[in-house]
Amino acid sequence: MAGEKAAGEKKPGEKAAGKKKTGEKKPPEQKASQKEVGEKKKKIKKHHASRNPVLARGIGRYSRSAMYARKALYKRKYTAPETKIEKKKKEKPRATITKPVGGDKNGGSRVVKIRKMPRYYPTEDVPRKLLSHGKKPFCQHKRRLRASITPGTVLILLTGRHRGKRVVFLKQLATGLLLVTGPLVINRVPLRRAHQKFVIATSTKVDISGVKIPKHLTDAYFKKKRLRKPKHQEGEIFDTEKEKYEITEQRKSDQKAVDSQILARIKKVPQLRGYLRSTFCLSNGVYPHKLVF
């Protein structure tokens, strides 16, 4: 206790002494500022002796809660300075969204949760899956292209409604399918996708070096669209689904843009136009494994 009191006295005494020191040394400015900083640093460094006297080794006089009070920790709550990342992170993601609602006398809008609670909890927990290696989703697969297929190659389509037709290869799309065109005026094959495996690559090439293919011709452009909104169950099969495919104006204009460039190159090679118009067929004595394409 005596020791503790002495310790208690020390700190205010020292603080006073420190203050006095700073008070004294104000006139010599440079030295004072340096020493002030030094004093402040020193002040922080000075730690109080233990406020918990030892009764026996490992046993203190006061409990945790008593010590909390004695050390005045209720006054001393520090937080780390807020970093820039934390400042940015403060923007919390939205939890709800208001959506308009149709119908009259409905109030016009509802407040909807964006992330909802799960609607089903399985009775047994799902077992932990074993680690797998190298299993990538389709979008990350490696796409390969046969060496015999280069831009401008004449391909023979083997499947689909245009089977047997000879067609000009333009480029390979992101999913690996080949973008191909008739051209339309020659053999009625529009800008279309073809699968590499179901195509024979001939050795005949058209020079397509300067041809510019519009950038918006991607897989999404060619993907088949399907209506999936069974709102009311009509007795019959829905007629709203696209049974009849309609050629959009955009497709027509794209077709024209690409074909006009290619047709010019095709005209330069004699007999190539007639070749593209013809279809491929096998006859007696013709064996594909013996043919040179």
């Binding site: 004449v154 023979i156 000879r166 001939t202 050795s203 005949t204 007999q271 190539l272 007639g274 070749y275 013809s278 491929f280 013996k290 043919l291 040179v292 394409f293």
Partner: protein
């Protein structure tokens, strides 16, 4: 009955084996089945070769039996066998066969078109002749005319790409 004999200096064409398609000269006969053979101008080393894989040609060189390669080469070059060989129909047929096998899809299309056009012209002339003969009865002019249009077409086609020649050969 037999016109080509196995003799020293006979030039033979190798039909199968590692040296298929090359010409060699028979230098000496080893036994009933084999000959000593040498093809200095066709890249065949002096070696024994069974008669079975050789096909005799019309050419015979003059050199004594077991003559060394230098003599065989001299005789070969003197007779100019390589050029004579490529002028024969045999060699031309082989070449035509090779070309046909190498035809690409586009070439096949071009040949088809050429053949079609040629046949059309021939048929057209034939029909003309048939009409004339049915109208006017038999006349001596006809056989001449029959020959003329065919010959006229053949030199025309010769100007077209080699594929047309292949077509002609195929027809023949």
């Amino acid at each position: 009955v037999f016109k080509r004999f196995v003799e020293i200096g006979r030039v033979a064409f190798i039909s199968f084996g590692p040296h298929a398609g090359k010409l060699v000269a028979i230098v000496d006969v080893i036994d009933q089945n084999r000959a000593l053979v040498d093809g200095p101008c066709s890249g065949v080393r002096r070696q024994a070769m069974p008669f079975k894989c050789m096909q005799l040609t019309d050419f015979v060189l003059k050199f004594p039996h077991s003559a060394r390669q230098k003599c065989v080469r001299l005789a070969w070059e003197k007779e100019n066998i390589n050029e004579k060989w490529s002028a024969t129909r045999w060699a031309k047929k082989i070449e035509a066969r090779e070309k046909k096998a190498k035809m690409t899809d586009f070439d096949r299309y071009k040949v088809m078109k050429a053949k079609k056009m040629r046949n059309r012209i021939i048929k057209h002339e034939m029909k003309k002749l048939q009409k004339m003969s049915s109208k006017k009865g038999k006349k001596p002019e006809k056989p001449e005319k029959a020959q003329k249009p065919e010959k006229a077409q053949k030199p025309e086609k010769a100007q077209k790409p080699e594929k047309a020649q292949k077509a002609q050969k195929a027809q023949k």
